[in-house]
């Protein structure tokens, strides 16, 4: 594989990763995201409904936590996880954990790491881990790592050091075993940067990992609640500065639009796409605007509308903090709300996804109220497409040197300042 940078603007890297995959003819755009899956399938979606979506990323993320317990099945199957899940054309990246389910801490030892699947805990030594990867045959997989430093609140220097030491040991063992495996010659190992919030350890992790023949880097331990990321952003810059330019940088656990932009500015290339899934699960639809170059009339309307919107800001905040929607963001609307009952417009007016072209807010509202399975299907289609469209707009903004405008637009929506352009004003 080869990473070609087209340009670097204010720390943001725009480019392509080429010669990917077993046949070496796949390409990925950066900055970009990976298709989030659960047990090898996009949530709620069959191949048919997945193919309805425009802009599906070339690479999908599989989680070892959902697959490890089925090791024997893959070993007997022999043709790799891509064929098993019915996605032979897709590039596949295997992460250790599922970003949506937090991992309980206290289970990493010097010799093993544990993941939690449907059937309970699966403990893996390096050799078991590599045996599983041999059976899966993904295109990329993250090396076995000790990510517990980020599970805890206040992390001691000692613990941070241990996470780096262990992760490097695991990496070296994985690399050794890969050399001995014919099957895994076609797979690429992604080195994992650990170290908690301790700068020296983070730098050591980055420098040492960069010395190994890895194909890319996973920045682990920057996830958490929004305030945690803010304090860690500075650390992130320092870490990516230590990494070679010609290898991709992935980050786990960060998927919100505003956080994505912050990380891109600090040298991150690839993200997980679990945020649209979380939005779907709470019966919401992404409606945030990433069209930062609207026509002049629209801008005027928006400017005049802002006074009105600030008045409703408090009202909106009230709705969002009451009830069970505490984690809802200002990037979305909640289709369960009564006001959508007779709203026959699509989720997002200009959206050309299958859901917006065929269905109305009123219909989605009905499906949610009646607890119908189709609600999840349609919302997932829309939310994925909206999210992939956002990444496309980031790349376009970088091409035309207008990322600052996009960032401002996202920032104003994140703070609720600009309100949601799809909110109905009374």
């Amino acid at each position: 594989m080869k990473l070609n940078l087209t340009k670097v603007v204010n720390g943001c890297r725009l480019g392509k990763i080429q010669n990917l995959g077993k046949t070496g003819d796949h390409t990925m755009d950066i900055p970009g995201c990976l298709l989030y899956t659960k047990t090898g399938s996009a949530p709620h979606l069959t191949q048919h409904t997945l193919h309805n979506i425009h802009g599906v990323p070339a690479m999908a993320q599989l989680t070892l936590s959902s697959l490890a317990e089925h090791h024997e099945v893959f070993a007997e199957y022999k043709k790799g996880v891509g064929n098993f899940i019915g996605m032979p054309e897709s590039l596949l990246y295997c992460s250790l954990h599922d970003p949506v389910s937090p991992c309980p801490s206290g289970y990493v030892t010097n010799k093993s790491v544990s993941v939690w699947g449907g059937g309970g805990r699966v403990e893996m030594t390096v050799s078991k881990f590599m045996a599983i990867q041999q059976a899966l045959q993904p295109d990329w997989f993250q090396s076995l790592s000790d990510g517990e430093a980020s599970c805890e609140e206040a992390i001691s220097i000692k613990r941070a050091r241990k996470s780096v030491d262990r992760t490097l040991l695991f990496l070296d063992s994985c690399l050794r075993l890969q050399e001995e495996s014919e099957v895994l010659q076609k797979s690429s190992i992604i080195g994992v940067i650990e170290g908690g919030d301790v700068m020296e350890e983070r730098l050591r992790s980055a420098r040492e990992t960069a010395k190994r023949p890895v194909s890319g880097f996973l920045l682990d331990g920057f996830q958490g609640n929004p305030t945690t990321l803010e304090t860690r952003l500075q650390l992130l810059s320092l870490v990516t500065a230590e990494l070679p330019e010609d290898k991709p940088r992935l980050i786990c656990g960060v998927s919100r639009p505003d956080e994505v932009l912050e990380c891109i500015e600090r040298g991150v290339d690839l993200f997980e796409s679990f945020f649209p899934y979380l939005v779907t699960e709470r019966g919401c639809a992404l409606t945030f605007n990433f069209d930062y170059q609207p026509n002049p009339e629209e801008t005027l309307l928006q400017q005049n509308g802002i006074q009105e919107e600030i008045k409703y800001e408090d009202q909106i905040k009230k709705i969002k903090t009451t009830g069970c929607n505490q984690k809802m963001t200002s990037f979305e609307i909640n289709l369960k709300e009564k006001k959508y009952r007779e709203d026959f417009s699509p989720l997002v007016k200009e959206c050309s996804c299958y859901c917006c072209k065929n269905h109305t807010r009123a219909y989605i509202h009905h499906l949610l109220v009646t607890n119908e399975l189709l609600a999840g299907v349609l919302l997932m289609i829309h939310n994925f497409e909206h999210y992939f469209g956002f990444f496309h707009s980031i790349r376009e903004a970088l091409k035309s040197d207008t990322l600052a405008q996009l960032k401002e637009l996202i920032r104003r929506q994140a703070s609720g300042e600009l309100g949601n352009t799809n909110l109905t004003l009374h």
């Binding site: 659960k38 047990t39 709620h44 069959t46 409904t49 299958y354 009646t370 399975l373 299907v377």
Partner: protein, 404 residues
């Protein structure tokens, strides 16, 4: 009610919506084509049930791609949520769920009795309490037709006085006569006979005389089609097939016969032989959501360990998207996860199975080899024709098909 009651105004110009294409020379099986407002439908046909304006987890595009051209919606559920007024604003049920083909709605009567603990049936209608907001409502023949008019479905059903097939005694006769009276009230209340086809529902329980009386009365009314109701409950299969056969023997040939609530493969094959054209059942879609896949030899409970390493498709002969791309092992794995996609894969397959079965039945009737098809079907399903359940063997024999 006295036999001398006033004869209701019947629709003398009730459309002939069924065109017969072929008939089996031995049994009563027919192949035909329904001409409905939202397009033609080949019969015999199986209609999947999409209770609340959705075919569970599959999109209307997927349903269309499977070849489905008619499916069901439930008046009881939709009448409560989201309600007929909203659906009317959404351009009817077709517009609300964005289904371009045909829809059949039932009257709400069956759910009334089966779902609602405290429902009371009087001559007026069925009085019940909404499980969602506790409000008391009366579902009368007029109200049922009114709701169905708002839904805009292509075929609507009369409100019938539904009585479980295990009930005996005077209640059955009362319900039968009332159903006739309610049919007349439905006909009178129907505002859109040119856009929606109102079907009658033959009742009479398991009593041959009552059923015959009902048939005689209802066939005097010129409705576009007839349903055979009150069966597919807890009755024995022997009583079941006899009532179906009695009904088809007395229903006009040039109108469709809709057997309600029947969906098991064997039942479909036998009842086509007995002369039925249309069927509906929640079974295939419901069983999919429990991890069960329908196959020519019965069903596969894919959650079971035996499928863990079974790398073939559900059915190598099936051309549905699930079978073309996925293995039993993958579906087994996915069914043990919390990803709902597993259910959708099976829903797609099970609907495909039902529709492919009906297509095969129809082709055999058109090609004049239906009896052979039946024998072959039973062979596959039961391992041997002689192992076919006795009731089915008898029913088939009664219409000239002998399983050797």
């Amino acid at each position: 009610m006295a036999a001398g009651a006033a004869v209701p105004t019947s629709l003398e110009s009730a459309p002939r919506i069924m065109r017969l294409v072929a008939e089996c020379s031995r049994s009563r099986a027919r192949a035909g084509e329904l001409r409905l407002p939202h397009g033609p439908v080949a019969t015999p046909v199986f209609m999947p049930v999409g209770t609340q304006a959705t075919m569970k987890g599959i999109t209307t595009e997927q349903l269309d791609a499977l070849g489905c051209r008619i499916c069901l919606g439930n008046t009881y559920h939709l009448g409560l949520r989201p309600g007929p007024e909203l659906i009317q604003k959404a351009n009817g049920l077709h517009g609300f769920m964005n289904w371009p083909h045909n829809l059949l709605t039932d009257s709400g009567g069956f759910q009334m009795v089966s779902l609602v603990a405290l429902s009371e049936v009087t001559e007026e209608g069925v009085r019940f309490r909404s499980p969602y907001d506790g409000e008391e409502t009366l579902l009368s023949p007029e109200r049922s037709v009114e709701i169905q008019n708002s839904l805009g479905s292509d075929i609507i059903m009369q409100l019938d006085d539904v009585v479980s097939s295990t009930v005996t005694g005077p209640r059955v006769e009362e319900a039968m006569h009332r159903s006739v009276r309610w049919l007349d009230r439905c006909i009178a209340a129907h505002r859109q006979p040119d856009k929606q086809n109102l079907f009658a529902i033959i009742q009479g329980g398991l009593d041959a005389d009552l059923r015959a009386t009902c048939l005689e009365e209802m066939t005097k009314r010129d409705v576009p089609g007839f349903a055979i109701g009150g069966l597919s409950g807890g009755e024995s299969k022997v009583q079941f097939w006899k009532m179906v056969a009695l009904s088809t023997s007395k229903l006009p040939k040039d109108k469709p016969r809709y057997l309600m609530g029947v969906g098991y493969a064997t039942d479909l094959v036998v009842c086509v032989a007995l002369g039925c054209d249309m069927f509906d059942c929640v079974y295939p879609t419901r069983t999919a959501r429990f991890g069960s896949a329908l196959v020519p030899t019965g069903q596969l409970q894919l959650k079971k360990k035996q499928y863990e390493k079974d790398f073939g498709p559900i059915d190598p002969e099936c051309s549905c998207p699930t079978c073309k791309r996925h293995s039993r092992a993958f579906l087994h794995t996915l069914l043990h996860s919390d990803n709902t996609a597993a259910l959708h894969h099976l829903t797609v397959h099970n609907i495909a199975y039902q529709l492919q079965l009906m297509s095969a039945i129809r082709a055999s009737i058109v090609e004049k080899r239906f009896p052979d098809f039946v024998c072959s079907f039973m062979n596959t399903m039961y391992g041997d024709q002689t192992l076919c359940p006795p009731w089915a063997t008898e029913a088939l024999a009664s219409v000239g098909i002998t399983l050797s």
